[in-house]
């Protein structure tokens, strides 16, 4: 897979998303000249604590995409057990396949070269609705989610409000 093929594949996905937008997010590039760095806006999924929020995130694709997964980072502040405090998204499908030191993840849950921006974002949106506290990236958020839910809710609500202000 050459860098040219990788960029063609990403261009194809961008064109397709522009033509047929997918509910729940919009996608574009950070810089029009760099197909490997995307900016997406995720709409907080309805019937979740994140409803009403507009969360901006960046996707950084390696030159070996789709053999290797992109990194994803929220730019808008967000409080969630599977998102680090600095915004880095930690979900198993963005992990490269291989030796799993902890034995949590089946190969089927890891990165596969058939994943696209769309399938990644669908996973991220479902993660917002349904956190996985077995492998938290934000330990404090995970602890609150389990043991101090009202406080967790308050923090998420603050992020939602902030995201609305930033977006307006």
């Amino acid at each position: 897979m050459s860098e040219l093929q990788s960029s063609l594949l990403l261009k194809k996905q961008l064109a397709e998303l522009n033509k047929n937008p997918v509910e729940g997010f919009s996608a574009g590039l950070i810089d029009d000249n760099d197909i490997f760095r995307w900016e997406v806006l995720i709409i907080g999924p309805p019937d979740t604590l994140y409803e009403g929020g507009f969360f901006k995130a960046h996707l950084y694709f390696p030159k070996e995409y789709p053999l290797r997964p992109p990194r994803m980072k929220f730019v808008t502040e967000i409080w969630h057990p599977n998102i680090e405090k600095n915004g880095d998204v930690c979900i198993s499908i963005l992990h490269e396949p291989g030796d799993d030191k902890w034995g949590y993840e089946k190969a089927s849950e890891r990165w596969l070269p058939v994943h696209t921006v769309e399938t990644i974002l669908i996973s991220v949106i479902s993660m917002l609705a349904d956190p996985n506290d077995e492998s938290p990236a934000n330990v404090d958020a995970a602890k609150e989610w389990r043991e101090a839910y009202p406080e967790f809710k308050r923090k998420v609500a603050r992020c939602v409000r902030k995201s609305q202000e930033e977006c307006s």
């Binding site: 897979m1 093929q5 063609l8 594949l9 194809k12 996905q13 810089d31 760099d34 490997f36 760095r37 950084y60 390696p62 030159k63 789709p66 053999l67 990194r71 680090e84 880095d88 930690c90 198993s92 992990h95 490269e96 396949p97 291989g98 030796d99 799993d100 030191k101 902890w102 949590y104 993840e105 190969a107 089927s108 890891r110 596969l112 070269p113 058939v114 492998s135 938290p136 990236a137 330990v139």
Partner: protein, 145 residues
């Protein structure tokens, strides 16, 4: 705690640069001592996130990779016949197969461009479409024949 794998710092730097990451060879100062051999070596992946040129592999890694290459080469290659029952595009690169193009058949009968799937199988021996482990399927075929 947690299973979020940290990536190497080198990887982050290439991402920050945001683009044209120079190859090691070309980034070396042309006047300075060459850091790496001038000969372009094939790069291998002893484990998925570790890539190293052939001469930097341990003996154990060399054996592992040789086995893997042998296994991949056992997978049949055919030429795409345009049959409508088969998938029309390679789901890795999302490009349609053209008639007579070389495709590799996995034991699950999913097909891909040879170069697309071989690169992936060097990293993970699973079918990207159905996640069937390729090595397990091959081993059973050997046992039953």
């Amino acid at each position: 705690m947690g299973n979020c794998l940290k990536r190497s710092a080198a990887d982050d730097i290439s991402l920050l640069r945001g683009g044209n990451e120079p190859t090691r060879e070309s980034s070396a100062d042309p006047l300075g001592p060459p850091l790496y051999s001038e000969i372009i070596q094939p790069v291998f992946y002893p484990s998925p996130s570790v890539s190293r040129p052939a001469s930097h592999l341990t003996e154990e890694e060399q054996v592992k990779i040789a086995k893997r290459i042998g296994l991949i080469q056992h997978l049949p290659i055919g030429s795409y016949d345009g049959c409508s029952k088969k998938s029309r595009e390679c789901v890795i690169c999302m490009v349609e197969f053209s008639v007579e193009e070389a495709v590799r058949y996995l034991p699950c009968m999913h097909i891909y461009h040879v170069s697309c799937i071989d690169d992936w199988l060097m990293r993970s021996l699973t079918c990207p479409s159905c996640m069937e482990p390729v090595d397990a399927a091959l081993l059973t075929t050997y046992e039953t024949t």
